[in-house]
Subunit: 154 residues, 2 copies
DNA sequence: CTAAATAGTGAACCTGGTTGTCTATCGTGT
DNA sequence: ACACGATAGACAACCAGGTTCACTATTTAG
């Protein structure tokens, strides 16, 4: 069909949709007391999770080297979102845990994402939004996590 | 509605959709003789366009400093995708133009994106895909270009 | 009990972003 | 005609985050 949209619009729109949501999230997070958290940090904190993790584990989860994971942890530690403590059962390991500040950021993010989804539902209708989500599930990997995000673009 | 999907799935799926397409594009581009072009380079070459541009102009288009644009141009030049020449009408300026190699990459990308869109259409149906594109147009900025892509994530 | 595997760290390097400074050139206003 | 402001490009220093290689300390397995 010659009246199909050009193929390059699809990735662009997907990316713009993603950016629109992430930018709105971080604008609101900044307003709610988290001005210096970057988009990447959200993914990393999500990957750290409520039980904590280690640099090696985090690297595996994110698909980057343990050294890169370590650097990101350092940054997050400097910003006060995570803290490290030696594992008493294995003194080689250092457990990385979210601080109350980090947990607060995560909880607020979840809330804001729900609000943003509601905004889209208001614009598109709940039915269309559900269809959009279902279609995206069809064409993307099942496993939502394991994003391999950092440094992927450049 | 308590049975709505959690809001965080939407950005994740949009990003995964984007990544799926871009990864497939670059796998295919690598197979077709462009193994070292990175996702970012595609956007930059698109922004350079058929008429060429300058570092300052490119920086404005991409939303980065002229120095950052200059560095990216250097990389692209080293890879053989662009070339620079002094502007005879204004000897301060250096015009950046796509080389035949760069034009080839751009043309192949357009073709591959069309093929990828056709794959999605086969999986979802042309109707649903059109609806998805239409809905994304509704919730994203009108202006497809001006992405501010580079370095935005970190 | 020794040897292999593992966790963390540090160094050197790459890309791509920033800001600040500097020179060369262009264009305008007196 | 010319001086001065604006512009284009380049260079330096720095930052974030990525890589690989090398090393120490500790744990685990044979």
């Amino acid at each position: 069909m010659s009246n199909d949209p050009p193929g390059f619009e699809l990735p662009l729109r997907l990316f713009l949709g993603f950016r629109t949501l992430i930018d709105a999230l971080h604008a609101e997070l900044a307003r709610q007391g988290h001005p210096d958290v970057r988009p990447m940090h959200g993914f990393v904190m999500q990957a750290i999770g409520l039980n904590g993790t280690t640099a090696v584990e985090l690297g595996r989860t994110l698909g980057v080297s343990k050294q890169a994971a370590g650097k990101t942890i350092e940054t997050l530690e400097r910003l006060g979102y995570v803290e490290r403590a030696r594992d008493p059962h294995d003194t080689r390991r250092k457990i990385v845990r979210l601080t109350p500040h980090g947990l607060d950021a995560l909880a607020r993010s979840a809330r804001i994402f729900d609000d943003l989804r509601a905004e889209w539902a208001a614009k598109l209708g709940e039915e269309r939004l559900r269809a959009l989500e279902a279609d995206l599930r069809t064409v993307t990997p099942q496993d939502v996590f394991r994003l391999d995000v950092p440094g992927w673009f450049g």
